[in-house]
């Protein structure tokens, strides 16, 4: 029961922080600067915060360490999306960029976390 409640809390906090950063991003100019907030640690802050409160810092620190691999994947995702966006549009570029995330995050996980 506690787990379900924590998942719900993380989802609520994650969604709320994502919207907060989205509002900030929409209200900022130029778009290059606003784009910084598209990669803000909204879900991470919410999730690590709830984990710290519920289980202490050990579990949260381990998750944060593994997040380095995911963040390396995110750099690859953004680079692929930027290059492909103008040619093929958001849907196709996001699909290909997701592949780039899986490859880069997988390789980084293998290299850093094994």
């Amino acid at each position: 029961m506690k787990e379900v409640l924590l998942i719900g809390l993380k989802a609520l906090a994650g969604g709320t922080l994502v919207v907060a950063f989205a509002v900030l991003s929409d209200a900022l100019k130029p778009k290059t600067f606003a784009g910084l907030f598209s990669a803000a640690p909204s879900v991470a802050v919410a999730s690590l915060g709830v984990t710290t409160i519920a289980f202490g810092t050990g579990k949260a620190a381990q998750a944060a360490g593994a997040m380095v691999a995911g963040a390396i994947g995110l750099v690859a995702f953004c680079a692929a999306a930027m290059v492909l966006e103008r040619r093929v549009g958001a849907l196709t570029s996001s699909a290909v960029a997701w592949l780039a995330w899986f490859v880069a995050a997988g390789a980084a996980s293998w290299a850093l976390l094994r």
């Binding site: 991470a44 620190a61 360490g65």
Partner: protein
């Protein structure tokens, strides 16, 4: 010319400013969609953490769930070029996210909850510094030359 400008990824003044009128173009559905994406990825990361382990959950904390939604919305309202410019900014933000994760991992162990706040601060500082170094400074340096006009032959 700055390579970013040549690629059409930096246009207009690079100085950040608030434009609250731009929020009028966004509807509640746009934010509801982003909330749903954020909530789903936070839940999936939590479930993965419980089922597979904290490491898998941690990797998923940087899963790009919100970016595709943002790019789709920007493309629909402002076109593909502006969406590509947003993705360029997101590259800088995600490089700063690597710093966030490293500081959070170390900070949570040594400073408890304060470590998470410090990591968030590091993200803000790193992202801003990258923007200044890669986008703002090259444009500022170029400006006086671009404005200079020959006065005589």
């Amino acid at each position: 010319m700055n390579p970013l400008e040549r690629l059409g990824l930096v246009v207009g003044s690079p100085t950040p400013r608030l434009n609250l009128n731009a929020l009028k173009r966004q509807g509640p559905r746009d934010y509801l969609m982003r909330f749903a994406f954020g909530a789903v990825i936070a839940a999936v990361a939590a479930i993965a953490g419980l089922g597979v382990g904290d490491r898998m959950g941690g990797v998923l904390l940087a899963f790009p769930a919100i970016l595709p939604a943002s790019l789709t919305l920007i493309e629909r309202k402002e076109g593909r070029r502006v969406a590509a410019i947003d993705a360029m900014g997101a590259i800088l933000g995600s490089v700063a996210l690597i710093g966030f994760a490293m500081v959070a991992s170390w900070g949570l162990r040594h400073w408890s909850g304060v470590g998470l706040a410090a990591a968030a601060l590091v993200w803000v500082v790193l992202a801003s510094a990258l923007y200044v170094l890669i986008v703002w400074l090259p444009r500022r340096r170029k400006s006086p030359l671009a404005r200079a006009r020959p006065t005589s032959r």
